[in-house]
Amino acid sequence: MKILTLIRQVPDAEARVRVTNGAVDLEGATLVMDGMDEYGVEQALRLREGGADAEIVALAVGPRRNEDALRTALAMGADRAVHVETDAVLDPISLSKVVARIAQTEGIDLVLVGGQQADWDSQALGAATAERLGWPQLTWTNGLQVQDGALTGRHDVDEGNETFTATLPAVVTTQQGLNEPRYPTLPNIMKAKKKELRKDTLDQYGVTPLVRVVGAEIQARARMNRVIDGKDPQAAAAQLLELLRNEAKVIA
C-alpha cells in the first residue's frame, strides 16, 4: 500500500512571532514540522513496522523553507517526498485540491493529515480531501491499524471514544495521543539527503487560493505578575484557592 502524509510547517512552540504590516512575521522564528503531522508520519512508520508493506510519501505545499520539514519526515523514515513549492497561502479547501490530485496520481491508499492544521485550526482539510476523493474520512484518531486491506482504529467523541473499521482507500486525521513520535536520529538525517525530494509547482495543479488573509493581530494579555510565596505550602495552597475562587472566578 501507499501512504501519503501531509506535512505543514509551523513556528516552534517557544517561538515569539511578530505581526508586521498586518501579517504574521516569521522572520527569526524557528519553524518545525507541525506536531499533528508528526503523529501522521510516525503512524505511517508504525503501520509499516507492524507488518504493512507500505511506501510512505511525505507531501508539503508551501514555501521553499518547507523543505526542512520534509527532510525531517524523510529522516524519521518516509521513503520519498513531494514538495509543491509556492509562496501562496492556501486555504484548506484549495489545499485539499492539491492533496486529492496527488493522492490520485500517486495511487495512494491512505492519506494522513494533521487534525487541526495548527496554523489555520479549521479542521477542514481532511474532510475536504475525503469529499473530493469520495473516500471515507476518520477524524480525531488516537489508534490505528491496517489489517487485510481495512483500517481498524479508535477515535474520540464527546462522551468517550469509539472503535471503527473502514475500507481503504481512506483519509485519516490525527490527534495527540495517537503515538509518541520518534526523534530523527543523526545518521538517519544524513541518509535522508539521498532520498528523493520531488519539486512541483502550484501551476501544475491549477489551484489559486479562495481566501486571502488581509490582516492579523496578536492578542496580548497583561499578566498579573503575582507570585505566591511557597515557604508555607498549606498557606500557599489556601491563597491560590482564594484567588481562583474570588478573583479569577474560575472555580465555585
Partner: protein, 385 residues
C-alpha cells in the same frame, strides 16, 4: 531557540535538522531529568545507550564505524543542545566522541577501529581518555611510562580528573614510551590486570558525569593496542582541539538556559510595583548575556566552517573556548543574581549551570592557558613556563 543574528540561516538543511532533532531530544529526554541526575551524582549508565541510539556519540565519524558523517558545524549544534541541559551530559558525549573514538579513528589500526568504534558509537561501551596527571596544564611533564616487552607494552603511572574512568570499558592512555622519548597512545581495556579507576568523590560540579583516576600498575597490553599513528604529544593535543571546539558551542547552550531563565523570572517578578525586567540594572545583565550569546554563536559557526574546510588552527579554538565559556560562566552568575534567593535553589537550573561552568572554564585548557595561547599568537613569545 535563541538566535538574534539568524545564524540558523547560515546552516545547511542537514545542520538545521540535526539541531532541531537534538533540541527535541534534549527537551524530551534530558531537561526533565538533569537536576535529578545531578542530585544522584551521576546519570544512569543507560543514558549512554540512548545517546548512541540517537547518533550523538562520534557523529562526525564515517558510517562504517558507527558514525553519521556529520559536518563539524552539525556536531557543534548537537553539543549546544546537550549542554543546554547540563555541561556534565555534554561532557559524556564529547569525551566518548572527541577524546576516545576520535584518536582510535585517527591514529589506530584498522583492527582497533573495527574492534572498538561500533560499540563506543552505540553506547554499549563507555570510554575514557587518560592524559592529565598531577602536573595539570603541563602534559609534557608526563610521568606515566610505557615499556616495550616482547609483543606487549607495560604501562605504569597514574592519571587524574578522568571523566567516566570509574565506569569505562576501555581507556585511551597516553604514556612516555621508554627508548623513544616521546608520548604514545594505547588502547587499554579496563579489565586488564593492574588497571584500576578509583572514583573522585565530593564534586560540587559536573555531578551528572562521574570522574575518577586511572592507576596503572604494570599493566600489560598487546603491542597491537598502540595507536600507531600517534607519535608525540601533538596527537593527544589534536584530540583536545576537537573537544574544545565542541565545548565552544556547548557553553552557548548553557548560556541560553541561564538567559532564558533569568529573562522569564525578571518579567514575572514584581518589586516596587513593576516587574524587575523594567529596571535598567536587570536589563543590562540580560543585554550582556544576549550580546555574548549572539557573538559567540557567530564565532562557533565560523570555527565550524573553518574546521570543515580543514583550515582550523589551535589559537582560533583557544579564542572560542576561552571566550564562550567565560561568557557562559559570567551569564550564569548574572542570572543567579537576577533570580535573587530563588537562584540558589535547585528549583531553577542556573546554580547547577554556574557550578558546572566553573569546571568547564578550567578543563580542556584553563581560561588562562588559552589566554597564553592567544598571547603567543599575538607576540610570537611563549609565556607558558
Amino acid at each position: 531557540m535563541l538566535d538574534l543574528l539568524s545564524v540558523r540561516d547560515l546552516l545547511t538543511s542537514e545542520e538545521r535538522a540535526v539541531w532541531d532533532a537534538t533540541r527535541a531530544f534534549t527537551t524530551g529526554e534530558l531537561l526533565p531529568h538533569a537536576q535529578g541526575w545531578w542530585d544522584a551524582g551521576g546519570a544512569p549508565r543507560d543514558l549512554m545507550r540512548r545517546f548512541g541510539e540517537q547518533g550523538l556519540l562520534g557523529p562526525t565519524l564515517p558510517p562504517e564505524y558507527g558514525g553519521a558523517g556529520l559536518s563539524a558545524v552539525a556536531y557543534g549544534c548537537a553539543m549546544y543542545e546537550l549542554e543546554r541541559a547540563d555541561s556534565g551530559l555534554r561532557s559524556l558525549a564529547s569525551v566518548q566522541g572527541s577524546l576516545v573514538m576520535g584518536p582510535i579513528h585517527r591514529f589506530g589500526s584498522e583492527d582497533l577501529r573495527r574492534r572498538w568504534l561500533p560499540g563506543l558509537a552505540s553506547g554499549e561501551l563507555v570510554g575514557c581518555f587518560g592524559l592529565t596527571e598531577e602536573g595539570g596544564s603541563d602534559p609534557a611533564a608526563m610521568r606515566t611510562t610505557a615499556r616495550a616487552d616482547g609483543a606487549h607494552y607495560v604501562l605504569t603511572g597514574s592519571k587524574v580528573w578522568i571523566t567516566n574512568s570509574p565506569l569505562a570499558d576501555v581507556a585511551v592512555v597516553w604514556a612516555r614510551v621508554e627508548g623513544e622519548d616521546r608520548v604514545g597512545g594505547f588502547v587499554v581495556p579496563t579489565d586488564t590486570p593492574g588497571f584500576s579507576a578509583p572514583k573522585i568523590d565530593g564534586k560540587l560540579s559536573l555531578r551528572a558525569s562521574v570522574t575518577g583516576e586511572i592507576v596503572l600498575r604494570e599493566c600489560r597490553v598487546p603491542a597491537a593496542n598502540r595507536l600507531e599513528g600517534a607519535r608525540g604529544l601533538g596527537a593527544p593535543l589534536s584530540c583536545l582541539t576537537d573537544a574544545r571546539y565542541g565545548i565552544s558551542w556547548g557553553a552557548l547552550g548553557s548560556l541560553e538556559t541561564s538567559y532564558g531563565t533569568a529573562r522569564e523570572f525578571a518579567l514575572g517578578r514584581v518589586t516596587f510595583g513593576q516587574p524587575i525586567a523594567s529596571r535598567q540594572l536587570v536589563q543590562e545583565k540580560l543585554a550582556r548575556m544576549l550580546a555574548e550569546h549572539s557573538k559567540g554563536l557567530l564565532l562557533s559557526w565560523r570555527l565550524g566552517v573553518l574546521k570543515d574546510e580543514g583550515r582550523l588552527s589551535p589559537p582560533q579554538v583557544s579564542l572560542a573556548k576561552r571566550d564562550n565559556v567565560r561568557a557562559a560562566l559570567n551569564g550564569a552568575r548574572a542570572a543567579r543574581e537576577v533570580l535573587g534567593a530563588s537562584g540558589i535553589t535547585t528549583a531553577y537550573p542556573v546554580m547547577r549551570h554556574l557550578l558546572n561552568l566553573e569546571t568547564v572554564d578550567t578543563y580542556e585548557g584553563t581560561h588562562d592557558i588559552h589566554t597564553l595561547v592567544l598571547g603567543r599568537e599575538a607576540t610570537g613569545i611563549n609565556a607558558f613556563g
